[in-house]
Subunit: 490 residues, 2 copies
């Protein structure tokens, strides 16, 4: 019951479309503290490192989701971990919430200032600090984005493969446990962070694996690195990340294949994985999504359940991967297998996949999109996708489906009119049904977008009250004043 | 200073070779509580589930390390998570330490009852509960060993690849964040546990990813799974683990190659990884180790720095992996490249590698062995191995080297006479120097054996006092009475 209420409250903000306020302390009550804090901030960062401007604050109070909340009271722009620490100490002294901000490309309202407070924009901390090509690792500051890193790495023969679509900051990706299209081969952020520098709520600076350390494996004490990966800014501010790198594959081949049914596409996925094919990407798009992509990107793929695939390896190993995969898909009734070997046609293909969000939005101009994010065991995918498509049809909702099918993770890109309260309510109820369907099949309500604002009630259903109590205990230990991104996750 | 003292205290136990006592509460003080607890235990498990016998207790107070400590006061043999929970509640009520015990194959003294208390032997919980071949996952009780699982899986085309050498229990492997020879390709326990059932110190049962859930990826709240993986029984008793499985490769090829120098062997490793060869195992053995293996296993490998390699894949992909690897090793002066394609010669080769421990012991009959476990960035391996060999020679110590070179992790198998206090002291000082050498090169003192009793002081040096404080805070939150495997890790 409480769960349902919380959920509705979250969505009512969407409906209202304006700033809201959650929590015990009002803005007025903290404004005196805020004034004193702002002077102290200026002493740390200089005047240019502190902004009270409405436009800047608005811009730092939202991400790419439909969640809308009040902007922070002030935005600070630290240039180093030392400045982050000094600023955090000031916030701690004045009991002001701290909300870390990377690029604002999150999808679950993780940067909204639900209790007001101070947004720490990390965009000025954008140095790539330590590249060790022979050790396959690099250390970056939190403002470095995925594309900036890969562009920096271009001549080294190495790359960082985790790709959530958006050009997110790498520490933001770590904070939400992001993954994306390459996870089936290269893992998520959980598997690719070796060490983190973290500023805790009281300004203490820790290194989760020890300062400057970068062994590829360790069993030295509790795994603090993976406690902060996925903590969505609620346990500390990530100020440095040491990441695993990979050799750029000698050759890359992509392919598209249409199937008679969802089941046939998923069966092909399982068989490709069972055959030990180290597929780099295996993405599912349903008929509605393909149709939208065709329209948006001027393509002409058959309108049917479809797999987009990518293989990485040497020229010779690719031949074999391709041959086995063609066998598998043919055996499952796959047709129109189209290979893209040259960079141009590969880029066109993956551009279409990456533009799925915009293609979905283009189905109903003027509308907003919200992406669901359930993840289930592979064998349950056909059932949940079929039931979900029926649910969409029954409720007259637009929700093309795209998914990282190799991981059992898929998104319904819900296109809705935020000014139509009835539709907003129907979408809300649909997403709750979808999440519960995933939970009943042994899955999760959030494969890679995190919990943020909107999935706190579902998280409790997913994990049970006792595991949530453990998480609350961890939060209280690391952030006893509840200053770190309050109102998120738990 | 405190660090050095702790370290010496640990080793003094080795020297004394007898039971010792650490902590504030003496055995006498808890014996009344113990008596009442034992009656309560019997009500839970029946008489056969509780043992006070000296031999059973002795057997459950030690692992395969040189650390010797007092045995537990009593050993209980629960048959279910419900029984573990009921027993934990009794311990909690009477403030008795709880020490989880799998197979006793640990290498850092993790099962010693340093404060007395109750050993929870999990050997009677050995059911394989849920196998989902199409989802590549399985759920096991804590007494199931690695070999038992793989034997159960034999006809499914799947296997669990993490292989620390010993036939350890899978939950014990999770508890110490074990890895071993296959980690370079398949990851460690950190990457291969999807969900854990855990009984906390007060008997509460939680599921780290939610009861019955097994999505291949998730971003649902804090990563509790990886907080318990590697916690060495100090945060809770693992009573179920859901594990990732992999397809058994179509073909396997092994190889041995000798090199003129350590540098040449490591350079070959880096180049193989850079070339994107998905090598399954790449193990380094130094000249002393090879010589010991030759003697012990009746082999005749050239006495030189050597790589043992294994490749998994399809027949065709193996041809290519083999060809590229031969190129790489030849370019680095590798000679005598010997391929083992048939199962018989492969088994002989890897048997020699797995027998390294016994081969080392056979160098000095009647002695004991202690394995160091540092892990450094790949590029630092040649330097640390060369310096370490010089150190061994300078101090007249026997320490053949075997290592998981693809991860930068290697072991000196120190063979020592436990009754020679001078040698024990020299080995102790050597292992501290080696650990500090690894720390100074950006590495860790423990790649896969955990912290246990012996590396607590080094852990503090490695992570710094602030990260240790965070870990202590987490421990105090989950186990406020310090009952879970006290005296370990922190």
């Amino acid at each position: 019951m409480a769960a349902a209420l919380l959920g509705r409250r979250g969505w009512s903000r969407v409906r209202a479309g304006r700033a809201c306020r959650v929590g015990e302390r009002s803005y007025a009550a903290i404004s005196g503290a805020l004034e004193r804090a702002v002077s102290a901030f200026r002493a740390v960062t200089g005047d240019e490192g502190v902004s009270l401007g409405v436009a800047i604050r608005e811009q730092h109070g939202r991400d790419e989701s439909v969640h809308r909340c009040r902007p922070p009271d002030v935005v600070v722009f630290p240039r180093s971990a030392e400045e982050v620490s000094a600023l955090a100490k000031i916030c701690h002294h004045h009991r002001l919430p701290i909300i870390p901000f990377g690029t604002g490309t999150g999808l679950e309202g993780g940067v909204g200032a639900v209790k007001g407070g101070v947004c720490f924009s990390l965009r000025n901390m954008d140095r790539i600090l330590d590249l060790h090509p022979e050790d396959f690792d690099v250390t970056v500051e939190p403002g470095v984005t995925r594309k900036a890193l890969n562009s920096y790495l271009r001549d080294t023969g190495l790359w960082f493969p985790v790709d959530p679509g958006a050009d997110a900051s790498l520490c933001g990706m770590a904070a939400t446990s992001a993954s994306g299209t390459n996870a089936v081969r290269y893992g998520t952020m959980r598997e690719n962070v070796l060490n983190l520098e973290v500023v805790l709520a009281d300004g203490t600076v820790i290194h989760t694996a020890g300062k400057g350390r970068r062994p590829r494996k360790t069993s030295a004490g509790y795994n603090l690195t993976n406690l902060f990966v996925g903590s969505e800014g609620t346990l500390g501010v990530l100020t440095k990340a040491t990441l695993r790198l990979y050799g750029i594959p000698e050759a890359v081949v992509s392919a598209v294949c249409a199937f008679p049914t969802v089941q046939a596409a998923v069966d092909s996925t399982v068989e490709v994985l069972q055959a030990g094919i180290p597929v780099a990407r295996i993405e599912f798009l349903d008929d509605v999504m393909i149709d939208a992509c065709n329209r948006y990107s001027g393509l002409s793929y058959p309108v049917a359940p479809t797999l987009f695939l990518e293989f990485h390896g040497s020229e010779r190993s690719l031949e074999e991967q391709v041959a086995v995969t063609e066998d598998v898909t043919r055996g499952n009734g796959g047709a129109d297998f189209a290979w893209a070997r040259d960079a141009g046609s590969r880029t066109r293909l993956w551009q279409a996949r990456h533009d799925a969000w915009y293609a979905a939005l283009a189905l109903r101009p003027g509308c907003k999109a919200y992406a669901t994010d359930v993840c289930v065991p592979l064998s349950r995918l056909p059932q949940i996708v079929v039931e979900t498509k029926e649910d969409l049809a029954r409720n007259g909702l637009t929700g093309p489906i795209a998914g990282h099918v190799g991981d059992g993770n898929f998104h319904c890109l819900m296109v809705l009119d935020p000014d139509d309260p009835d539709e907003v309510q129907r979408v809300h109820e649909f997403t709750e049904r979808l999440a519960r369907r995933a939970l009943s099949l042994g899955g999760t309500c959030t494969g890679e977008h995190g919990v943020g604002l909107g999935k706190r009630a579902l998280l409790r259903e997913e994990l049970g009250p006792l595991a949530i109590e453990v998480m609350q205990g961890l939060k209280a230990t690391l952030d006893p004043k509840n200053l770190m991104n309050p109102g998120k996750v738990l």
